[in-house]
Amino acid sequence: MARIRPTQVADDGFWDEERPSRGKKAARYAAPVAVAGIAAATIGLVPALASTGDPNLPKISAQELISKMAASDAQQMSGSVKITTDLGIPSLPGGGSIADLGGAQGGDASAAPDAKLMELVSGSHTLRVATDGPDKQRVSIVENAAEYSLIHNGDEIWAYDSGSNSAYHATAPKGAKAKGDHRQELPKDLRDVTPQEIAKKVLASVDDTTDVTVDGTSRVAGRDAYDLLIKPKQGSDSTIGSVRIAVDADNGVPLKFTLSPKSGGKAVIDVGFTKVDFGKPKASTFAFTPPKGAKVTEEPTADRKHAQKDFGAKDFKDAQGALSGLNVVGKGWDSVARLDTPGGAAAPSGDSGPGAASGLLDGFGKEVKGKFGSGTVVSTRLVNALLTDDGKVFVGAVDKDALVKAANAAK
């Protein structure tokens, strides 16, 4: 200690340490405040600046835009897709939602795609897609420190779940219908969540109950796009307010798809590219060999899976598609599907899980009465279902009154 003596050191400007005045001391705190302020301003301003002005594109009619979409044949592309769904499916007290039910049933560490599909039904997800012709596709769901990938290469279909290190393998023979079951279509379902596929489906259903207009332009994933606005005609009972598709002005590829409910508020389904590249993806993108030690599930044949798939699809995902074989009342946007089930309000296709689910649905439903008798209406933001006490189920993207009307008419 004795060697250390206080020495007086003079100032040298920046490194100045000598007893600054009180005011000077306070002034130093301006530095962190300024840094924080600049950061806050940047965070606030950059998105505002980035979205300045929609692109100026030559006028185009809705018909021309639709044919442009139809003619588009972008075979090679890759990019990131953000999918946000808010179906308004009631949450369970435990914090989960009914959508989790489907996932939980298939949760025995299998990488089969159906459980994954259910996950997409609620919340926000990032997908990365790559396509190289009809034989090579890849979709992966970006998860926290994990990824679920679905790879289609030639006649091989692989699914890999890095979270559980398990894989799922199926073969897709050229005549996909050969086996007579819908196994092969499963991966296609997951592929269907890209904006292109959804837009294709929507356009296929355009008829005289629909208004189609070109509604301005926008920028999606850094590309100029036309906005195609599809709306049910006035006086419709549909719960769907509008469907908006952003179509790439250059090559007619749909880049963004937004479905808004009539009740307003956040979009029910919002699927759009956040990044897109129309170059050829690397060949290695579509190569998959299951890692050593990974659990590989081969294409299953169990009925349990089968039932589960129907359950998931019916209720939440794609009511129209799954119910196509059933009674449909009304047309266009106002279609209501009728299912007749014997024995109370049990969900129609249930052998395993659905029983439990229908109990839950009753809890969330609302009693209604009409000429048809009485029943329970289960509402989401988009799809409403009426379960009558005598075992009929009416489902549609229409409001409650339309369901009751349909039920009365069916009486």
């Binding site: 060697r3 250390i4 003596r5 206080p6 020495t7 007086q8 050191v9 003079a10 040298d12 920046f14 490194w15 100045d16 340490e17 600054p20 001391k25 130093r28 705190y29 530095a31 962190p32 840094v35 950061a39 990131s80 996932g103 939980a104 298939g106 949760g107 025995d108 560490a109 990488a111 459980a115 994954k116 996950e119 990032t126 990365r128 992966s140 970006v142 926290n144 420190a145 994990a146 990824e147 679920y148 990938s149 790879i151 779940d161 890095s162 979270g163 559980s164 290190n165 398990s166 956040t274 993108t285 190569a287 998959f288 060999t289 299951p290 890692p291 050593k292 030690g293 990974a294 659990k295």
Partner: protein, 314 residues
Amino acid sequence: MSRADEPKSADTGVPKTADTRPPGPTTDKRPTSPLWALALFRSELTTTLRRWRTLALLGVLALIPILIGVAVKIETSDGGGFGGGRGGGGEGPAFFPQITNNGIFLVFASLAATLPVFLPMVIGVITGDAIAGEAGSGTLRYLLVAPAGRTRLLLAKFTTSMAFCLIATLVVALSGLVTGALLFPLGDVTLISGITVSFEEALLRALGVAALVALSLVGIATVGLFISTLTNSGIAAMATTVGLVITAQILDTIPQLHAIHPYLFPHYWLSFADLLREPVYWDELVKNLGLQGLYVAVFGSAAWARFTAKDITA
């Protein structure tokens, strides 16, 4: 374990110059070489690393990958896979199922396991002690006697903290790699996107992951340094810093507070896994680095404002 108990490092140079020079202002003869700051940094780093406390903390960090490795080895020694009954992804510790098949995943698993608690705790202890500890044991004023200046001392302390982030991360990563190589097979690595890359490339990515984890910690390190300038009690500063880490992580799990989540420093910590995708998913990585940079800028300048204006009483 304070500076007072240890032999004064020659690098600080104070005693010598003080002894050989006549008392009084020494402005003209003061060495102004840029190496000066480096010397101060070197002395800080060696002082920090020579403490038993630091060595013990690093030892604990090195032990964690060994524990994980041995546990996974025992669990799977009967030939079965890891965690057979687990559902889809997103639950359970990240990368655990892959460890048995490729030892390199032990590096990622250990980093993912230590990043939420152990690494920030160690950083909190080191940075919280950086200035408050010196003040508490009465050595801070001796340090300031050196003609280095407070700003330069703070810079040296800051650089030491940053270096320590890297050292702590590398200790975990290296211990994970060695344990993984000893207990499990190595070989071509299947990335989480399902794409297989060579072991060399995976090793490069592992290095990148370690660097990212170290960079993820600079935010909390700077916050710790700032807290350390607020108080004269080293323990208080450490406890506050570690408490802050835990609080931020709890806030990060409350869905109702999602509006503030992107501004919490631990929010993007696990994004290092995005480096293991093919192609690499940059969005969150960039966000993470930007956020850490923001914390460094705000709390670094706050620490500067506080420390240069502070009355040093001890």
